[in-house]
């Protein structure tokens, strides 16, 4: 098992999972994006600064316009495929690091752990504190702050997850699996909850319709969950097969040597 093995499989898993994720985003998410844009245009038919979906947050240099048809198909696909494939590569290499380092987990099991921990810290925790917002929600003047908050929460969640795994690794031999998992998960939760309470709350919803907001956020949650679940499931399968093949080769060589 080499880093290259893991990277290639991670990229493949990321790419395939992105296709599923795109399917969900397109079929479940896009109707809500369109509904949000309709709300936006109904609310401010002639307000062309800062809130129109083609020029939001860019009143000064609004140059390029991309049609809704392109944004909702090729544009959406570009975003999800590049992010998904890149994430796949990162998860692949993180799994390469985890192999043989987490208790007695097999490579496929440690890979599954990486995917679950990755999903919770990279995607779920930031979502719970700063949930996705559809177009039409959000003040262009605060985009800098909101971007910063989002990545601060995400960064702390990832660091806390890494720390929890490192601590768990140390505790495992001393207090057993059950208590180790409780302690590590509890520690992670504590750090994340305290962070979430300490960070500023963002509420720029105004009177945006609740049903569209809920459905949009659900679609966003599903888009990310599909991406991560897809990467996790595909990569676990690929790594499991790789490991099976390698152990077979080793076993066969040992057998040949013993004859």
């Amino acid at each position: 098992m080499t880093p290259r093995n893991f990277l290639v499989r991670g990229l493949i898993a990321g790419f395939i999972a992105s296709l599923f994720s795109f399917g969900i985003a397109y079929s479940v998410g896009e109707p809500q994006v369109d509904a949000a844009i309709a709300v936006e245009q109904a609310a401010a038919p002639d307000e062309a600064d800062g809130h129109d979906h083609h020029s939001h947050s860019h009143a000064d240099d609004a140059g390029t316009e991309v049609s809704r048809d392109h944004q909702s198909t090729f544009g959406l696909a570009t975003g999800i495929l590049t992010v998904g494939t890149a994430l796949g590569g990162v998860i692949g290499l993180a799994s390469a690091f985890a192999v043989g380092r987490i208790g007695r987990l097999r490579p496929s099991q440690s890979t599954a752990l990486v995917a679950v921990v990755g999903y919770v810290s990279f995607s779920l925790v930031p979502f719970l504190k700063y949930p996705s917002t559809p177009p039409a929600v959000g003040n262009g003047d605060t985009i800098g702050d909101r971007t910063l908050y989002y990545f601060v929460v995400q960064g702390i969640a990832i660091l806390a997850a890494v720390a929890a795994v490192v601590v768990a690794h140390r505790l495992l031999d001393r207090i057993g699996t059950y208590r180790t998992v409780l302690a590590a998960a509890g520690g992670f939760l504590l750090v994340v909850v305290v962070t979430a309470l300490a960070m500023p709350t963002v509420n720029e919803l105004g009177d945006f319709p609740a049903d569209t907001l809920w459905l949009f956020r659900l679609a966003s949650l599903l888009t990310n969950a599909t991406l991560w679940a897809g990467i996790g499931i595909i990569l676990v399968g690929l790594i499991g097969r790789l490991y099976e093949r390698e152990t077979m080769t080793v076993a066969r060589k040992d057998l040949a040597a013993s004859l």
Binding site: S57, T64, V66, Q71, L76, G89, I143
Partner: protein, 70 residues
């Protein structure tokens, strides 16, 4: 299924040495960070290159993947 479970001998799993992993990880993490930046944050809070072409193109993905956009 049980057949494969029996067939795999219970051997020690050697970790991949950090020295072997580091160059791959450094390279891939850097590329991923750049990709994430362009999809998730560019031409919102920061703009490289100036304008809004990238932002507009990946706009729906940014919203649905949950990154701050508007």
């Amino acid at each position: 299924m049980s057949q494969t479970a029996v067939a795999i001998p219970d051997v020690e799993i050697p970790p991949i040495p950090v020295a072997e992993l580091a160059p791959w990880a450094g390279f891939v993490f850097l590329i991923a960070a750049i990709v994430l930046f362009f999809i998730s944050a560019d031409q919102g809070a920061v703009s490289i290159p100036s304008g809004n072409a990238i932002h507009e193109w990946v706009h729906d993905g940014r919203h649905l993947l949950g990154f701050p956009c508007h």
